[in-house]
């Protein structure tokens, strides 16, 4: 367990900023306490100071996880967001996509969102912008990357992919072993 290096932090923040933009600073600079990111087993955990101190009592090799896992660094040192970060991303999301009830299941099974399943989308969403996917009942289902800009979404045919799947809450079931 160690703090992130500058490079790691940057990579991670860049990734997170894709979804929540400048709201990222609200994650880092929280008025309700000190929160920090810790790297453990290639995974990045978002931990409050309190829990951090508590976790310090556990030896590194015995520690499975602490705080909330935001994602992990791949071998190529890219950062990959995990679905567990959704709780922190959803409230700050700048660009959102709502999918129709019929497409919820498809998305929750790890599929991309087609235009036919697109219920709503934030305007001015640009292509490849990170978006948080909500159900029509405003329940965050996961996040993805906009495959088309909002303007383009209007033109494409209904079977075209609108949002690339990144993570969904179905992973809590599907990746139960690996999620921490």
């Amino acid at each position: 367990m160690r703090p992130l290096t500058e490079e790691e932090t940057r990579v991670m923040f860049e990734k997170i900023a894709k979804y929540i933009g400048e709201n990222l600073q609200l994650l880092v600079d929280r008025p309700d306490g000190t929160y920090c990111f810790r790297l453990h087993n290639d995974r990045v955990y978002y931990v409050s100071e309190k829990i951090l101190k508590l976790a310090a009592n556990v030896s590194g090799d015995k520690l499975l996880s602490l705080g909330t896992c935001f994602g992990k660094f791949t071998k190529t040192h890219k950062f990959r967001l995990h679905i567990t970060a959704l709780d922190y991303l959803a409230p700050y999301a700048k660009y959102k996509v709502w999918i129709k009830p019929g497409a919820e299941q498809s998305f929750l099974y790890g599929n991309h969102v087609l235009k036919s399943g697109l219920g709503r989308i934030t305007e001015n969403t640009s292509q490849y912008q990170g978006v948080v996917v909500y159900s029509m009942a405003d329940i965050p289902l996961g996040f993805g990357v906009a495959a088309k800009s909002t303007q383009d979404c209007r033109k494409v045919d209904p079977m075209a992919i609108v949002v690339f799947h990144q993570a969904d809450i179905g992973e809590y079931v599907r990746h139960e072993e690996t999620l921490t």
């Binding site: 860049e14 000190t34 409230p91």
Partner: protein, 1061 residues
């Protein structure tokens, strides 16, 4: 013989012998002998058995004991005496002895309960269910019966009264009830042997069935209040009638039997066949069919116009029965009625030919009426009279018929008239041939049977089962009676029809009249087939037969149709109008005879099958026939009739009769409502869930930044607004650029400071006892702990040593080391965030998220401030058209989101059409107002004479300035900003009035929404106050003072009041 034998006579020898017995004679003898033998043998056997049994009983019933005196007889199990058998073995040539007593254990005795046979009546079962309309329907109960029937009766009443006599409502009631009961009987127990079939067993069955049916009917009746009354009445009537019956019983029986036989003889060929077929059907198929078949047979043997014939017969029967009952008081009435009939005949003869058509049907109905009248008689004397009156009506119709017939070709006596009528009108060879043979006797016999039997059957069937046997014969006619009820209505209808024929214009007078007319029309139809269809005698037979089958199959349907008599009536009335004419038209048309005939047969079949008891049924049938004739001249009358009836049901929303249907509908509606309510509740629940989710999300992780954007922007704007005044003009752009990051950094410091302060606070919290702080304090703590909580040794601050400060600092440092580390980390993170966000910012700006940011920094123009002079425009140079255009477009791009428009923007469109139009859309009324306020200053006008002024104004837009400021230090936007700067410079030069220039600037950078101290509002204030601003102000102040004083006074008063208490 011997003498004469072998004598020669005429050249031949005679051989004389005893003649052989005739075959038939011998056969009869042999049969008799056989019978006698059988009897003997049976008796002998019985004797033997008796003996045996005696022996057995006296014996010990031990299996295996031989019966004394009988060889090879053994007592086997259960005390039975069985023979010992010697059987030859198939394969071996050995004789096996089979001693039943040794195999007795294989035998089983069938349960002793078996002999307890269940009475047939109890075999009928009821569907148990709630009071739902559906379940009632299943049970065959139809609530509609009573209401509509009443109406009908009333109508009848009216008619009767018009005719001459008034019916008793009671009688009508009774009729209804009886009809209902009969109906039920039919539905429940279709096995009603026809009256013609005189087999005792059949009768017995009939009796049983009837009784059971009556019981059931009673039950059903009990379901409806109206029925109950009628029931009671019925019972009472029956009881009264019984006495009369008994007195006249014997004579009637005698008369009955003979005429009955005669009738048979007359109709032998037809009737017998029919009977045979009916019997066969009964035996083979089932009890249900038998009734209908028989009924159908009756109709059939009458041939196509059975109705008429029967009606005639019955009428005659009625008359005869009346005569027979001369002993009873009623007969006189009847005769009178007949006389009246004749009178009526004369009166009614107006529409002879149409009447003819109707007459046959009328006759049938009259027949029915007669039977019904008979029923009524049985029920009550008074009612009987009334019914007799009804009969009179019927008679009248008959008389009319007769008259018609007579007028047509040949008329003699009334009795013969009926026959002749039939023959003449219907041209039925069979009928004619048969009827003339034995008209009077035949008719009378029928009468006797019908009237008396019916009454007796009614009485006995209802009263006692024990009396049924003697009156079995009487029970048969019940059906006829039922028919009669229906026919009664029919009669009335007939009357009406007659009237209607006489005066067709009056058809649509009243509903009642209409109702009456309906049946009449129906009867017309029926009659028409008869008249026209005389040639088609045999066809009706077939039709009738066919009809019988389907009728049975669909009794429920009929009932349902019966349920809504009102509807039917209405429908019939409605249809009647139309139908009448068509019917009349149809009459001449022989091609449609078959149709009408079929309809007729339907009628008959329905009547007889359904016991013909209910007027409702009749009406419905008539209706159907009407509908058939009217709606479809097709040859599938049944189907069409059903459809019609259904249609009529659906179409006619009469509430009373439809109660069941309506209730069902209501139920449906209720169900729907319930479903809707459930759905709503579900939706609500869902919404609640949603809200819960929302709240949960909002409270997620206890983030106070649920609305992060707002917080950010607000803080930024605030900070910048504060900063802007302090900072110099050249710097605001910087601030803007750095806003988020800088803010964050600032916050960083702030937060770190805060943290430190927080830590200090914490320490202070623990410093509650400052003497324990630091190392020195620790000593004290130790001491204190050593001393315990003893008050005497409490360690005060006095004991605190003075060297603690340095150490305290050290401790603090130690504590804060970790925090500092964290803080540093945070700083780093924030730096990274800054860097990332910088990138983001650039990206976002490029993406167009800029405008929102741009408007965060609104520069308040304060004219009192000197440094704001830069915002003011100076003298304007010569404007360039090009520039205008550029500015306009820039404005458009930049202020897309901002609805705020300056006057210049308005004007620019004026100058340049293409850009101007779009800008105009952006204008909001507030700006217009402000413009309007300051007309003097602005020289604004859409049609300004001075283009130059306008141009100047357009140049004052200066909206670019804030944008320029924001971009000033942003390298990416240097180019655009520089351009704008140029423009602004140019515009500055042009400006004649500095204020004007400043105003637009502010506005352009402003949000659409008004904020406190909004410039626009200031302008508008001026406008609003206008002349009386000061005055109003003064008055307001004075008023407020006064009010304040008043309030204080009141307060004081109240206080004073409170004090004394």
């Amino acid at each position: 013989m011997s003498v004469l034998n072998k004598t020669k006579w005429k050249g031949g020898t005679l051989q004389i012998q005893l003649a052989k017995e005739s075959f038939l004679h011998r056969l009869a003898q042999e049969r008799e002998e056989a019978k006698a033998k059988r009897e003997k043998s049976t008796t002998g056997n019985n004797n033997l058995l008796e003996k045996m049994e005696e022996v057995n009983f006296h014996m010990k019933a031990v299996p295996g004991t031989e019966v004394p005196g009988h060889k090879n007889w053994v007592v086997s199990k259960f005390g039975r005496v069985l023979p010992v058998l010697y059987l030859k073995n198939q394969h071996k040539r050995k004789i096996i002895e089979y001693d039943p007593s040794k195999y007795c254990h294989n035998a089983k005795k069938i349960g002793e309960d078996f002999p307890n046979t269940i009475p047939i009546s109890s075999l009928t079962w009821e569907i148990e269910g709630g009071n739902d309309p559906m379940s009632k329907k299943w049970r065959g109960e139809f609530s509609d019966f009573c209401g509509p029937s009443k109406k009908m009766k009333k109508v009848l009443k009216d008619k009767v009264s018009t005719g001459s006599l008034a019916m008793n409502p009671r009688s009508s009631w009774v009729m209804e009830t009886t009809s209902c009961t009969k109906k039920t009987c039919d539905s429940i127990t279709p096995n009603k042997s026809p009256p013609e079939l005189g087999s005792d067993t059949q009768k017995f069955n009939n009796v049983l069935f009837q009784t059971s049916g009556l019981e059931i009917a009673r039950k059903k009746n009990s379901m409806s209040d109206d029925d109950i009354d009628s029931e009671d009445e019925l019972k009472a009537m029956i009881a009264k009638e019984e006495n009369l019956r008994r007195t006249t019983w014997s004579s009637i029986n005698e008369s009955e039997d003979d005429p009955f036989e005669v009738i048979r003889d007359n109709f032998k060929s037809v009737v017998h066949k029919l009977h045979l077929t009916g019997l066969d059907i009964k035996n083979n198929v089932s009890c249900h069919v038998s009734d209908n078949d028989i009924m159908g047979n009756d109709c059939e043997y009458d041939s196509g116009d059975i109705d008429e014939i029967i009606a005639m017969k019955k009428n005659v029967d009625k008359k005869t029965s009346c005569k027979n009952r001369e002993n009873s008081e009623l007969s006189g009435h009847f005769i009178k009625v007949q006389k009246r009939k004749n009178n009526v005949k004369s009166a009614l003869t107006h529409g002879v030919k149409p009447l003819n058509c109707k007459s046959p049907s009328h006759s049938s109905s009259s027949e029915d009426a007669g039977s019904t009248s008979e029923l009524a008689e049985s029920e009550e004397d008074k009612e009987y009279n009334a019914i007799m009156k009804n009969c009179l009506c019927v008679n009248l119709t008959l008389a009319d018929l007769e008259q018609l017939a007579g007028s047509d070709p040949k008329v003699q006596n009334e009795d013969t008239e009926s026959d002749s009528l039939e023959s003449t009108t219907h041209c039925k060879c069979d009928r004619v041939s048969k009827s003339p043979k034995t008209p009077d006797s035949f008719h009378r016999g029928q009468q006797c049977i019908h009237s008396e039997e019916i009454v007796a059957s009614l009485l006995e069937g209802e009263n006692t089962c024990g009396k049924q046997k003697p009156k079995e014969n009487n029970l048969k006619p019940k059906f006829q009676a039922f028919k009669g009820i229906g026919s009664l209505y029919g009669k009335e209808s007939m009357k009406k029809s007659l009237k209607g024929n006489v005066a067709p214009n009056n058809i649509n007078e009243d509903q009642n009249s209409l109702k009456h007319e309906d049946p009449s029309s129906i009867s017309m139809e029926n009659g028409s087939p008869h008249a026209n269809g005389s040639s088609n005698k045999l066809t009706p037979f077939q039709h009738a037969e066919r009809a019988n089958g389907p009728n049975h199959i669909q009794p429920q349907k009929r009932q349902s149709t019966f349920e809504s008599p009102d509807r039917k009536v209405v429908s019939s009335s409605s249809s009647e109008k139309g139908s009448r004419n068509p019917i009349s038209s149809l009459l001449p048309l022989k091609g449609k005879k078959s149709l009408s005939l079929s309809a007729k047969t339907h009628k008959i079949g329905f009547d007889k099958d359904s016991c013909h008891s209910t007027t409702k049924t009749k009406v419905s049938e008539e209706e159907r026939s009407d509908s058939n004739s009217l709606a479809s001249f097709n040859k599938s009358p049944k189907v069409s009739s059903r459809k019609d009836s259904q249609e009529s049901k659906t179409d006619l929303p009469l509430s009373i009769s439809h109660s069941s249907d309506v209730s069902a509908k209501d139920k449906h509606a209720e169900d729907n409502q319930k479903r809707l309510a459930a759905l709503e509740a579900r939706q609500k629940a869902k919404e609640v869930q949603k809200k819960l989710v929302h709240n949960a999300l909002a409270n997620l992780d206890g983030h106070p930044e649920d609305k992060p954007m707002h917080i950010i922007f607000d803080s930024d704007s605030e900070s910048e607004t504060e900063e802007i005044p302090t900072q110099e003009q050249s710097h605001p752009g910087e601030e803007l650029v750095k806003e988020s990051v800088g803010k964050a950094s600032r916050k960083l410091f702030d937060s770190s400071d805060n943290e430190e302060s927080a830590s200090e606070d914490d320490s202070s919290r623990f410093k509650i006892k400052p003497q324990f702080e630091g190392r020195a304090g620790q000593k004290l703590v130790d001491l204190q702990s050593h001393f315990g909580t003893d008050e005497r040794f409490r360690m005060d601050s006095r004991f605190l040593e003075s060297d603690s400060e340095e150490e305290q600092e050290e401790v603090n440092e130690k504590k804060s080391v970790e925090e500092e580390e964290l803080a540093e980390e945070e700083k780093k993170a924030l730096n990274v965030v800054q860097s990332v966000l910088h990138i983001n910012l650039r990206n976002s700006t490029s993406k167009g998220s800029v405008p929102a940011k741009k408007f965060k920094d609104i520069i308040h123009y304060d004219p009192t401030r000197h440094d704001h002079g830069t915002y003011e425009r100076k003298k304007d140079d010569q404007p360039k058209e090009k520039m205008y255009y550029n500015i306009a477009t820039d404005l458009k791009e930049i202020f897309q989101t901002a609805k705020d428009t300056s006057e210049k923007e308005e004007d620019t469109p004026w100058n340049e059409d293409c850009s101007g139009e779009k800008l105009e859309e952006i204008q909001n009324p507030a700006t217009l107002k402000s413009e309007a306020e300051q007309p003097g200053r602005f020289t604004f006008s859409f049609f300004g004479s001075d283009t130059k002024d306008i141009k100047e104004e357009t140049y004052r837009i200066e909206t670019v300035k804030p944008g320029k400021i924001t971009w000033q230090e942003d390298p990416h936007f240097q180019d655009s900003s520089s351009e704008e700067e140029d423009i602004t410079e140019e515009t500055d030069h042009r400006k004649p009035i500095p204020e004007e220039a400043s105003v637009p600037e502010k506005e352009t950078t402003r949000f659409f929404f008004f904020s406190k101290n909004d410039e626009r509002l200031h302008g508008s204030d001026l406008f609003w106050r206008g002349v009386g601003g000061n005055i109003s102000k003064n008055s307001w102040e004075a008023r407020t003072n006064n009010l304040r004083m008043d309030c204080r006074k009141k307060h004081k008063d109240a206080k004073r009041k409170m004090k004394p208490k």
